[in-house]
């Protein structure tokens, strides 16, 4: 009969549990261009213009890794309500919303401050591109839904500041996809604006930092500074710029290099937009 007075150890031999070490960050690939972009316009029939953008998944083998997926709809230009005051320009409203399941941490249905912040950045980027005075007394709504954020999900290093760098990538995607959707809606622009990101990254404390285009946040040990730019290639103008971080040493030189690199990323993204729009036009001509 078993001894009930005391707590006995297990009958058989046991081994203490050994926890597997968390997987390290994915190896950084050296690439000289941005990740591949899939872009398609005209996917939402009910909207006057729409586009979908997806980035290439950098590490498709790893279990939880995802890439950026964005969908953008443009409603308008449409007349303002009668109660609205007169506006000599088109009134631009931008919404950026993460789907609740887009990031590691669940997003509520109400837009939080980072989403509103992205919305303002997007508005600044687009307002420079749109020829606003051709539509007095009208408004246009631009809604970007982040279906999947650009995050590394299987790495346990849930660093808080990774979030901020993610936002840069999301913003550049938002700008690119919104630009394609606006062109799809037939709103006059001075140029197709495209977004690009460059970052100053370093693997660890010993190695010298390098500048990379379109940084995959999960791949890099630490990001020192990053810069997101919205760029009009044919006019060679920047409509929105967002830089943050800490630069070592002589500031302006690194800063300029970072900007130049992000402009290259913008040009790459713009090529995708132009190609997609060309295809759309060709398709339309083929039908008629």
């Amino acid at each position: 009969m078993a001894d009930r007075r005391r707590i006995n150890g297990p009958v058989g031999a046991t081994t203490p549990p050994i926890f597997d070490k968390p997987a390290g960050p994915a190896a950084a690939k050296t690439r000289d261009a941005i990740r591949k972009i899939f872009l398609k316009t005209g996917i939402t029939p009910s909207a006057s213009g729409s586009a979908y953008l997806e980035l290439e998944n950098p590490n498709p083998q790893r279990p939880g890794n995802t890439s950026l997926k964005l969908s953008c709809t443009v409603h308008g230009p449409r007349s303002l309500p009668r109660s609205a005051p007169f506006s000599p320009h088109i009134i631009l409203t931008t919404h950026v919303k993460y789907a609740p399941f887009a990031t590691r941490q669940r997003r509520g249905y109400l837009r939080d401050s980072s989403e509103r912040d992205l919305g303002v950045h997007l508005e600044t980027a687009l307002r420079g591109a749109i020829i606003a005075d051709r539509w007095p007394k009208s408004g246009v709504d631009i809604i970007v839904t982040v279906v999947e954020g650009d995050q590394d999900r299987d790495s346990p290093r849930a660093k808080k500041d990774d979030e901020g760098w993610d936002m840069m990538n999301v913003l550049s995607g938002c700008i690119t996809v919104a630009s394609a959707a606006i062109a799809d809606a037939g709103i006059d622009c001075v140029d197709t604006v495209a977004g690009g990101v460059a970052a100053l990254v370093c693997k660890d404390d010993k190695t010298a930092p390098t500048i990379v285009m379109d940084p995959v946040v999960a791949e890099h040990g630490s990001i020192l500074a990053a810069c997101c730019v919205a760029y009009l290639p044919t006019r060679d103008e920047i409509t929105n710029m967002w830089f943050k971080g800490r630069l070592p040493g002589a500031d302006m030189m690194v800063y300029d290099k970072l900007m130049e690199k992000s402009l290259v990323a913008c040009r790459c993204a713009n090529r995708v937009i132009v190609q997609e729009l060309n295809e759309t036009v060709k398709k339309g001509q083929g039908i008629s």
Partner: protein, 436 residues
């Protein structure tokens, strides 16, 4: 963005005039209030106005906008995520070449401190050992902005909040000041309230006030050691400044005496809180701290956050860069373009297409040779020959909201100019220092 697009009662003609005078090259821009391009608006400031806070400040600009900032601090327990704990213990094992210093237990460090009673030495050792472990988290700072007449989830307010927060958090140095020990930290609440209605874009005002309030912020002096539960000196007079002040007196004195006291500046280890400046470009001119009217004709506007770091790295100072650029060890924290409200201004109508000025008449009946609207005399075939021209090109003296963005070189020049201006000690850094 409603905070930038305040109602501005300027006609297109006035806007065109303002734009013209601000973009003058030869005598430089002529600003409506007579300031030089890099001059700031006059302001009155005071600190320590709110007794219930750890630090507070009030700034009133000459145009009547006024802001109050209160900083409150609370002790909070630092949550230790499991992976971080593993990593930190491993890290300590790794560089345990100095087993005494990194300290197994707080008891041991305490005895060690008793033996070596030298305070400076202890502080040095603490700093050397702490470099590895002093961490900060962006969660430790909470910033709120309140602007009368706007909802607190208004995107303009959110943009301001995130811009000011970003400046504080961008380099991760600020949150390290809030570290108490491995288990506890300060949580800092910054509450920024604009008292007056937002007469101009409030960013420079809010940033300056925050800067002052942080300079005036004091935290109770810590009495406990190492990883004990924190215990503080209850004498408020003994409270330490978040940004140590000992350089204020020496800095002021040295600044008065000589500009080339770079050695003294290097000796003073003080850093200062970040500051965000608003700069705009009109034509080829770069204008600091634009007022509302000036911002209404801006071609582009940029908010630049800079901070003065501890001048520990002597390399940039000894380089061949002119001394003025690196007098203070400034670094760039963040740059954001701001949607200039000029894009929302109503365009003017040139005479050539304006029916009220006989413009369309000239086009329709080319036989009339009214000299007042001469530029359209060559037209005639098209209905509105000048309509296309005015649509795409600028007509001198007729206001048109700017299209497109800013040139790469212009943005770079604006950022560089901010760094250069902020580096010169006689400017606002010193001006602000006086107030404490």
């Amino acid at each position: 963005m409603s905070s930038t697009s305040q109602h501005l009662l300027l006609s297109p003609a006035e806007l065109a005039y303002l734009h013209g005078s601000l973009s003058l090259i030869t005598p430089g821009p002529i600003r409506p209030d007579g300031r030089s391009p890099t001059q700031f608006r006059p302001l009155t400031a005071e600190t320590g106005i709110l007794p219930g806070t750890n630090g507070s400040a009030r700034i009133c600009f000459a145009d009547g906008t006024e802001a109050v900032v209160g900083v409150k601090a609370e002790v909070e327990k630092t949550p230790v995520p499991p992976y971080e704990f593993v990593a930190s213990t491993e890290g300590r094992k790794d560089h345990s070449g100095t087993p005494k210093k990194s300290g197994r237990k707080s008891k041991k460090t305490a005895t060690e401190d008793e033996i070596s009673m030298d305070v400076d030495d202890e502080a040095d050792e603490e700093a050397a050992g702490a470099n590895e472990k002093v961490r900060g988290s962006p969660d430790w700072v909470e910033l709120s902005v309140e602007i009368p007449g706007l909802r607190d989830d208004d995107s303009g307010t959110v943009f301001l909040t995130s811009m000011l927060t970003e400046a504080l958090l961008a380099d991760g140095e600020f949150v390290k000041k809030l570290w108490i020990n491995r288990r506890f930290h300060w949580k800092l609440y910054l509450d920024i309230i604009l008292i007056s209605p937002p007469l101009s874009y409030p960013l420079p005002l809010l940033s300056l006030t925050t800067h002052l309030a942080l300079l005036a912020t004091r935290l109770p002096r810590l009495k406990s050691e190492a990883d004990e539960d924190p215990m503080f000196d209850d004498d408020w007079a003994a409270a330490t400044f978040l940004y140590p002040l000992q350089d204020t007196s020496s800095g002021k004195a040295s600044n008065k005496s000589s500009k080339q006291s770079s050695a003294a500046a290097a000796a003073a280890p003080a850093s200062r809180p970040p500051i965000t400046l608003l700069v705009m470009a009109v034509g080829d001119n770069i204008i600091f701290d634009p007022s509302k009217e000036e911002l209404a004709v801006a071609d582009s506007a940029v908010a630049v956050s800079v901070a003065e770091g501890p001048s520990s790295e002597p390399e940039p100072e000894s380089e061949s860069i002119p001394a003025t650029t690196t007098k203070r060890n400034l670094h760039l924290l963040s740059v954001r373009t701001i949607d200039p409200p000029s894009r929302l201004t109503p365009p003017g109508v040139p005479n050539s297409v304006n029916a009220a000025a006989w413009g369309t008449m000239t086009a329709a009946t080319p036989t009339t040779t009214t000299a007042a609207t001469a530029p359209s005399s060559d037209g005639g075939a098209a209905k509105h020959p000048d309509a296309r021209v005015t649509e795409t090109e600028d007509v001198v003296g007729v206001w048109k909201a700017p299209r497109g963005g800013a040139k790469f070189g212009m943005l770079g020049a604006m950022v560089a100019k901010v760094l250069r201006e902020a580096a010169s000690p006689r400017r606002f850094w010193m001006g602000l220092r006086v107030w404490i």
